[in-house]
Assembly symmetry: C2
Amino acid sequence: MLRNCIVSKMPFFNFLFMNRLYHQKLITKHSLMCINYTHNLAGKQQRIKENVQPVNKFVSRSHTCGELRLQNVGENVQLCGWLEFLRADKFLVLRDSYGSTQFIIPTHRKDLQEMARNLTFESILSIEGRVLKRPEGQKNKCMGTGDIEVEIKSLKVLNIASLNIPFIIRDYNKANENVQMKYRYISLRYPELQKNLRLRSEVIMKMREYLIKECNFVDIETPTLFKNTPEGAHEFIVPTKLLDQFYSLVQSPQQFKQLLMVGGFDRYFQVARCYRNEKPRHDRQPEFTQLDIEMSFVDCEGIMMLIENLLAYSWPQESGELTIPFKHLKYEDAMELYGTDKPDLRIPQQLCRLTELIDHSVLEQSLKMEQNEHREVYALVFSQKHDFLTKSIKDTISELQCTYFPSVKLIQTKIPNKSPVITNIIDGNVQQKLNLKKGDVLFLACGEKVNTQSLLGKVRLEFTKFLESEDQEIFTSRNELLWITDFPLFSFNTETNSLETMHHPFTQPHPDDMQYLMNNPLKVRGLHYDLVMNGFEIAGGSIRIHDSKLQKQLFKMLNIDETHLMHVLDALESGAPPHGGIAIGLDRLMCLLCNTKNIKDVIAFPKTTTGRDLMSGAPVPISEEIKRFYNIQTVDK
Amino acid sequence: MLRNCIVSKMPFFNFLFMNRLYHQKLITKHSLMCINYTHNLAGKQQRIKENVQPVNKFVSRSHTCGELRLQNVGENVQLCGWLEFLRADKFLVLRDSYGSTQFIIPTHRKDLQEMARNLTFESILSIEGRVLKRPEGQKNKCMGTGDIEVEIKSLKVLNIASLNIPFIIRDYNKANENVQMKYRYISLRYPELQKNLRLRSEVIMKMREYLIKECNFVDIETPTLFKNTPEGAHEFIVPTKLLDQFYSLVQSPQQFKQLLMVGGFDRYFQVARCYRNEKPRHDRQPEFTQLDIEMSFVDCEGIMMLIENLLAYSWPQESGELTIPFKHLKYEDAMELYGTDKPDLRIPQQLCRLTELIDHSVLEQSLKMEQNEHREVYALVFSQKHDFLTKSIKDTISELQCTYFPSVKLIQTKIPNKSPVITNIIDGNVQQKLNLKKGDVLFLACGEKVNTQSLLGKVRLEFTKFLESEDQEIFTSRNELLWITDFPLFSFNTETNSLETMHHPFTQPHPDDMQYLMNNPLKVRGLHYDLVMNGFEIAGGSIRIHDSKLQKQLFKMLNIDETHLMHVLDALESGAPPHGGIAIGLDRLMCLLCNTKNIKDVIAFPKTTTGRDLMSGAPVPISEEIKRFYNIQTVDK
């Protein structure tokens, strides 16, 4: 069936050449062969294939390329896969998602040797053969199937790969990210992506199992084509055939899940697709997935316990230990100790408030600051790291301060430091409080409270990152999960001079703070909780308002036009149970479980930071005809 | 806590009145009470609640309203739910999604009687009490909990329902569909919707279980924001911030699932959201869900076996028996015997071709038709149903013929019929062939083949529907599933004078028909299969083209500009395994499993036929600011 041709002494170049011939002359014959294959390969005998592994049911192979072991020696097998290696007209290696298997061509089979020479890497082969034990000394311990090899009886080329394939699956000389995204269908063959996406499927299945089987939840699909939300500045819109009528793609199923509670579905979940057209950021995609959960007759504790048990149930062994219950920290304490509401507890260092210990007039004089009685002073100490406070990291940190917190003064120093400025400020009391020793590194910041805390929070991460890069072990290896609670319900936007919600307008105010709602709203906490893992927010939720009068009041305080949300208010008056819920960001959780920082590593077909699909080119221009159909026209701003 | 007030003799009107007072004066107090509830209800003691039913984990209730039985007598319980009934200051019934429970107020508890009088139907209550055996003679056999009642110790009103609630949950006087859709959050409380959506969740979970656990499939999420497809006239578009750059919402994950096969994920599935902006039809929604499946190294048989086993595994008991393997019928045979490619095999009647038995000149003369040698004659007989061939059904069927098949002649008659027209045509041979007996009904049609078959196919359904409405049993009660195969690959559009694909351009031509591809393409069958249940198509799929040259050829034949699909062609050249797949329409399957004809009965928040969400009003106008952001303007055609 295949053309005979001269065999070069350089097998690789030879097969490239052969392949070109093959492509030019034989493609029709080949193509027909493949079609016949797909029609006949399994046929009726599949119906009686009973004791087959789950992964091989209903298909033509008898085993995957990762399956054969010593106990299979002597069996006749059929394997299908991608050509990974070819060597000396004798050995070839097939790869599929489950592993690789080595095949040998018997010396007398000139026909097979001929065929092999014509093959390109990544071509699809189907091979029948007999499993042999590898000769002693030729076993490969790095290969799951390294104890055996398969002697080829027949080989079919199911699809030949082009010579112009942009890259092949090797550990070295990897293509850059953009090339890998353009040819995503090839990079998906890399073992890492195979592993990540398979793990994602497993973890989500375990979550479903826990919710449905262990807790009687109901998986309910809610619409994604919906109405714009009052605060939805970043929603994608979808024109319809009706003049000037648009859907918006949901940012989350928030309203629907609350309405389901009103509708009597007291335990809802959904693996929900959500859409946000936000500013480009490396860990954001225009569409993303969250595990969305809502329950009736529940309180904060109930939701947190559910999530702890859910994660414990679905946690993959390879992602390290998980201990429940998780730690709890109030928002205020998180800011006080870590300068962030997403503290990474794997870093042991904490901030220390020095405001009362420091002589503020000395401080102001030394640092040439104006007098300000609201000034706070915080310190952060890295014990015995003074070798690492290099000029370079100091500059990085100074830049960070100048960019984000220009109003905060920052001292970065090794201990001891004999300069008068430092010795004036760091007196004996302070030294004792901080337990300062020779060789320590001290960061000291003063300014408005939240900014001062936040600056040191960032310094804590930045200096740790630097120490890690210098092979200093700072992170503990544990997974550190904790709940942050008691968030403020509102923040104040000084630009618009108005209250804004910290999370969303449906969050229930804390019952102990109801007396402040009207006259001191910034003091009101919300019944909101975030779950933080190793410095990343992986889930957030709240108990919701179920009283329509209170909900109306909040809309009013937040300047939200209630006429757009009448269905929510009506629903709360129609028998709405107390309810609350949470959403887990699955893309980010999977990053942590797969130990990658790149969100694209856990998504099959990711878009670039600017929302471009490099493979298909989307988004693209559309025809005038389609625009007319949707009653729109493009206008340049 | 609640106001004392005068008690009327008419409990229903009284409680309406009380409730109004309550609403006007007491709402703040009430609202605070509810908030306290949500914060404190479960608290720390939840942490030690161990041996609790799955459905009651993490929440405040001890049991659902459908759970208590005789063995619970004597227990102290806490139930939460919707107030369903109130009677004589003494009895009240709480309902939740799991059932109803009757509560009694002890005669001496005037405070509780007072509270009860203030309640509105559908208000949310939390009740603590003790389970009692109902007195003999007062048991309710229609109620799961009918053997017991709960004596109230304490009652909390968690949320009062408005007096203006548009409807309450009763079996009689149901609100019309539009009102039910506007207040969907109330109609979701109806037991039928509760049952359907819970069944949907269960069935889909079983499908996942089968695919993942029994067959090693991987659940992979693919993007919905994509590029328009060449034939995508009915795709929704999504403008982006980039001038004149649009995403399109996917009609299905077709391209992605094929690319996953190229990427080495040899067994993929997804419960996928799909979008189609098609003409309004009662069984269509702008977004819908399909179970999307694709496999490598598979043939038609393999996919069909997978689906048979998948459905057998996930089939709910209450939906009747399912027998596998399913029947098979070729497209041509389905048309020949049933006049449709979606035959309902529960109807035993088949078409019978009479073309060769009939004297065509007699036929033409009798029916005053022009001579036409391509004319076909088909008959359909309903045995012993002549009483039911009323003028009314004859008119309905004639209208059907005039509307859809004006070129086909149709005779509808009881047997015997002595009119010369009939006796001329129906001679002895025909009578024998059709086994015609006195009392039968005969439909006889002649015209162009496919139209003639199709007309009788519709008559078969229409007359059966009529017989059913007259209490004549025609349908067998079995579930009749069958595969339709050997579809033509192309159809010919006489308006545009061009070939069109019957399904999609990625379908593999039948290997036995490859020789006709260039010179007689209408003779080529595709490796496509549809699954039909009781007359509805519930799944469809095909073996795909994996050879890029053949794919290019098909694009060319179909006038598809390949430049828009270069990523697909490139992928087929980069090591693409032979592959095929299928998609099950979950909305329609659930209709059949739930025994409803209305697709809205199996979707939580359906839209109207015209794509309107009556609850929120979506789609809606958007602000000029948002239009500017997306560089678009609305224009009236």
